[in-house]
C-alpha cells in the first residue's frame, strides 16, 4: 500500500506531482555576537568597523542538507525537539527566509498559519483588518469581500467585528487571524503549532477544517509537538534533529522512534543531574559530631514529609561513614540500569555499601518522593522487623519493587544506612532520580492495581488513539 502513496523523502522521481520540493537545503543563521543589541552607528564609525560590523562573527546551522518532497495532496507532519529546525523549515517553504544553499520549490498558493494575525493594526476595526490581512496573504479585495461573512462566522466574531482590534482578547485575535488565513483557500497550507487557539469547540472546528482541506486534495505541512496529531492526521512524518533529517516515513513508526529517543535523552539528563547532585553533596559533608534534629532523623520518612517541597528540600549527604554507601543503581525489568521506567515495571534499587570494620547496629532505609516532595513510600529494615546482626566489608542490598505502581512523573530516592537510634552512617538525601512514563494520564500519588467491570446496558466505543 505504501507503494502507491509516493514516498516523501529520498525518492528522486515521485509518482505524484510534487507540491513542495526541498532539495539539499541548508540554512545558516548569522550571529553578530559582539554587538548584538548595542549596535550603534556611532560606535561602528568610531571603531572604523562599519563594514566589518555588517559581517557575521559566527554562524549557526539551523538546517543541514535537508531534502524532502511532499506530493500533491499529502499531509506531512514534522516533529522534533525544540531548536531542531522545524520552524526554520516552515519559514523556508513559506518563502519568508531564503535558504543559504539548496532550492525550495512550491507549487500553488501558500498560506502559512505561522503567526496568526501578524500585521493586524490595533487601532482599526476587525473588518478593516480582515481586508488588509487577506490582501497581505494574497487575496484581492473582491475575494476578501466574497469570503468576509464566512470568515467572521468561522471566527465567531460577529458582534465584535466593527470594534478596533486593540479591544480584542488574545483568543479573539488568534481566532480572527486563523479564520482569515484558512479562508485564503491555499493549495499548500503550512501550519506551525497553532491549534491551541481557542476553546475545545474552536479547536474541533479547526481540525474539521484541516480534514476538509485533506479531502479536497490540498497539501499540508504540519509542524507540531502534538504527536497524536501527527499519528492521526498525517500521511507521513518527518523527524528533524539538530537540523538534519533523522527519520521519515510512516507516522506511527517515526513517532515511536522519536519517543524512544526522547526517553533516551531524558535518561542521560537524569543521570547527569544525579551525578551533579552527588558531587555537590559530597562537597558539603556534615560532620556527625554536630548533630541537629534535621540531620539526625529517627526515621528518614518522617523528616522528608515534613520538609514539604522537594525543590526547597535540598539534596544532600551526611553521616559518619563508618558504613559508606558506595553506589546506588536503579535497574529496570530487563536488568539494565536506567532512569526512565514504565508505570508497572519492576524496579530494583541496588545499594552497594562498604563497612571497613564490623558493625552490629545498622538499618538500611529507602524513601521515594514525588516532585511535590510528598513521600510516596518509605521503609527500612528495622520497620520491617529485620534485626541487624553484623555487616563487614563490601556488601549489596537490593530493594526490589515488584511493580512500580506510580503515576507519570519524576521521582527522587532517599537511600540511607544508620543506627537504630537514627545516628547516620551515610545518608543520601534525594540524590537519585527516575522518571515514570505512563500512557494513562491518571492523577494522584499512587496507582493501585485496578480494573473496571461493567454490567447492565453500558458500553464503550473502541479506543482509536491507542495503536
Amino acid at each position: 500500500m505504501a507503494e502507491d502513496r509516493g514516498s516523501i523523502v529520498g525518492s528522486p522521481q515521485p509518482r505524484l506531482r510534487a507540491a513542495i520540493e526541498v532539495a539539499r537545503v541548508s540554512k545558516i543563521y548569522r550571529r553578530f555576537s559582539h554587538r548584538k543589541q548595542f549596535a550603534t552607528l556611532k560606535s561602528a564609525l568610531l571603531s572604523r568597523s562599519l563594514i566589518k560590523n555588517l559581517r557575521p562573527d559566527e554562524t549557526f546551522t539551523a538546517l543541514n542538507d535537508v531534502s524532502l518532497t511532499v506530493p500533491k495532496g499529502r499531509t506531512l507532519g514534522v516533529i522534533g525537539r525544540n531548536g531542531s529546525g522545524k520552524s526554520t523549515l516552515l519559514k523556508l517553504v513559506a518563502g519568508i527566509t531564503k535558504p543559504s544553499s539548496g532550492t525550495v520549490k512550491v507549487e500553488g498558493r501558500i498560506s502559512a498559519l505561522i503567526e496568526l494575525g501578524a500585521g493586524f493594526h490595533p487601532e482599526i476595526s476587525g473588518r478593516e483588518n480582515v481586508f488588509i490581512n487577506g490582501i497581505m496573504l494574497g487575496l484581492t479585495k473582491r475575494e476578501v469581500a466574497e469570503r468576509f461573512d464566512e470568515i467572521v462566522d468561522f471566527a465567531e466574531m460577529k458582534e465584535f467585528i466593527e470594534a478596533p482590534v486593540k479591544t480584542y482578547s488574545s483568543g479573539m485575535y488568534m481566532r480572527l487571524g486563523f479564520a482569515v488565513a484558512i479562508h485564503v483557500d491555499p493549495e499548500v497550507l503550512l501550519v506551525d503549532e497553532v491549534l491551541a487557539v481557542g476553546d475545545e469547540g474552536f479547536t474541533h472546528k479547526c481540525l474539521d477544517k484541516f480534514a476538509e482541506f485533506k479531502r479536497r486534495g490540498k497539501t499540508i505541512l504540519l509542524v507540531t509537538h502534538s504527536l497524536s496529531m501527527v499519528e492521526r492526521f498525517c500521511d507521513e512524518a518527518l523527524w528533524l534533529d539538530a537540523g538534519r533529517i533523522k527519520g521519515s516515513g510512516d507516522p506511527k513508526r517515526i513517532v515511536g522512534a522519536y519517543i524512544t529517543d526522547v526517553e533516551r535523552r531524558e535518561e542521560h539528563e537524569l543521570a547527569a543531574g544525579d551525578a551533579r547532585a552527588r558531587d555537590s553533596a559530597d562537597a558539603t559533608i556534615v560532620s556527625p559530631d554536630e548533630p541537629s534534629s534535621a540531620v539526625l532523623p529517627d526515621n528518614p520518612v518522617e523528616t522528608a514529609t515534613a520538609t514539604g517541597d522537594m525543590f526547597r528540600a535540598a539534596e544532600g549527604r551526611w553521616g559518619s561513614r563508618e558504613i559508606e554507601i558506595t553506589q546506588v543503581e536503579l535497574h529496570g525489568p530487563d536488568g539494565a540500569q536506567g532512569h526512565v521506567f514504565q508505570s508497572g515495571d519492576s524496579l530494583d534499587v541496588r545499594i552497594r555499601m562498604r563497612a571497613p570494620l564490623p558493625i552490629d547496629d545498622f538499618v538500611v532505609g529507602v524513601g521515594i518522593f514525588n516532585a511535590e516532595g510528598t513521600c510516596c513510600y518509605g521503609t527500612n529494615t528495622y520497620i520491617e522487623d529485620l534485626t541487624p546482626d553484623s555487616i563487614h566489608g563490601d556488601t549489596e542490598a537490593v530493594f526490589a519493587i515488584e511493580a512500580l505502581d506510580l503515576i507519570e512523573g519524576t521521582y527522587k530516592v532517599d537511600v540511607a544506612i544508620h543506627k537504630i537510634d537514627g545516628y547516620p552512617y551515610d545518608y543520601h538525601r534525594l540524590l537519585y532520580t527516575f522518571r515514570v512514563k505512563s500512557r494513562a494520564k491518571d492523577v494522584g500519588i499512587y496507582r493501585p492495581r485496578h480494573a473496571w467491570r461493567f454490567s447492565g446496558a453500558m458500553r464503550f466505543k473502541k479506543s482509536q488513539a491507542e495503536p
Binding site: R30, T40, A94, I96, E115, G119, H121, E128
Partner: protein
C-alpha cells in the same frame, strides 16, 4: 534586484490598503483627528512669522507676505522630515510582518512615504486658502509644473527612506542621529528665509542641498512672480533622484535577507 523591483507593481493593492490603514489609524482615537497633523506646521508658522515680522524683519526681505512664503516651504518639508523619521523605525516596528508573513519589506517605507504624501495633499486646500487670501500671482503654466516637483520629491524622499530603514535595522541609533540631522537640514533649507536673501557664501552651500532646490521650486511656482526659472536645477535633481532611488533600492535589496533575522 531588478526582478524584485519589477514585482513591486503587483503589490499596488496592498500598498493602497496599507496607506489607507495608516491614515485611518492616525486619525482614530483623537478628537481633532486630521487637524492634529497641521498643528505642527501652523505652530512653526506662527512662531517664525512673529520672529521675522517683529523681531528681525531685515532677514526676510523679498519674502512678503511672509506667512504664505513660509507655508510654501514648510508643507513639503513636513512631508519630507516625517517620512524620514517614521521610515527609520518602520522595519523594526513592522518586524512581525517581515518575520512571519511573506511580505516584501520595501513596502513598509513606501507606505510611510506615500502616507505622508497624502498628508501633504490633504494640507493643500489650506495652502489654497492662503494663496487666495494673499492673492498670489499664479499662472497655469507654472501650476502644471507642480506635480513634477511633487514627483521628484517623492522619489528623492523614497530613496532616503529606503536607505534609512535598511540601515536602522543594523544601527539602532540612526533614529537619534537623524533627529539632529533633520534640525540642521531644516535650517540649511531656505524655508524660513528666502534663498536670494542669503549671503553669497551661504548660497554656495545651499546649492548642495537637494531639498533646497525642491523647496525653491515650490516657492517659485506658488509664491514668486515670474517664470519658473529653477527648472534646470529641478531637472538635474530629477535625474539625481532616480539614481539615488536605484542605489537605495540596491542597498535595501542587499540587506534584505538580514531583516528577518535582525529585527
Amino acid at each position: 534586484m531588478l526582478h524584485n523591483l519589477a514585482q513591486l507593481p503587483r503589490y499596488r493593492g496592498l500598498i493602497q490598503s496599507l496607506v489607507a490603514r495608516e491614515l485611518k489609524a492616525r486619525y482614530r482615537g483623537s478628537v481633532l483627528g486630521f487637524f492634529w497633523s497641521f498643528i505642527n506646521p501652523l505652530t512653526l508658522l506662527l512662531i517664525y512669522t512673529f520672529v521675522f515680522k517683529y523681531v528681525m524683519p531685515a532677514a526676510i526681505k523679498g519674502a512678503d507676505p511672509y506667512p504664505l512664503f513660509m507655508f510654501c516651504g514648510i508643507l513639503p518639508w513636513t512631508w519630507f522630515a516625517s517620512s524620514l523619521t517614521e521610515s527609520s523605525g518602520v522595519l523594526i516596528s513592522g518586524g512581525n510582518l517581515i518575520k512571519k508573513v511573506l511580505f516584501p519589506a520595501e513596502i513598509l517605507p513606501i507606505v510611510t512615504v506615500t502616507a505622508n504624501m497624502i498628508h501633504f495633499f490633504l494640507a493643500l486646500p489650506i495652502l489654497a486658502v492662503f494663496l487666495i487670501v494673499y492673492k498670489a500671482p499664479l499662472t497655469a503654466g507654472e501650476l502644471l509644473c507642480f506635480p513634477l516637483v511633487v514627483a521628484v520629491q517623492y522619489l528623492f524622499t523614497l530613496g532616503c527612506a529606503l536607505i534609512l530603514s535598511a540601515l536602522t535595522v543594523h544601527f539602532r541609533d540612526i533614529k537619534d542621529i537623524l533627529s539632529n540631522v533633520l534640525t540642521l537640514w531644516f535650517f540649511a533649507t531656505p524655508i524660513i528665509y528666502p534663498y536670494l536673501g542669503a549671503p553669497a557664501i551661504a548660497t554656495r552651500f545651499l546649492n548642495w542641498n537637494p531639498m533646497a532646490h525642491i523647496v525653491i521650486s515650490y516657492q517659485e511656482i506658488l509664491f514668486f512672480q515670474g517664470p519658473f526659472g529653477h527648472w534646470k536645477w529641478l531637472a538635474a535633481l530629477a535625474v539625481g533622484s532616480v539614481l539615488l532611488f536605484l542605489g537605495a533600492y540596491w542597498i535595501f535589496d542587499r540587506l534584505r535577507d538580514s531583516f528577518a533575522e535582525e529585527v
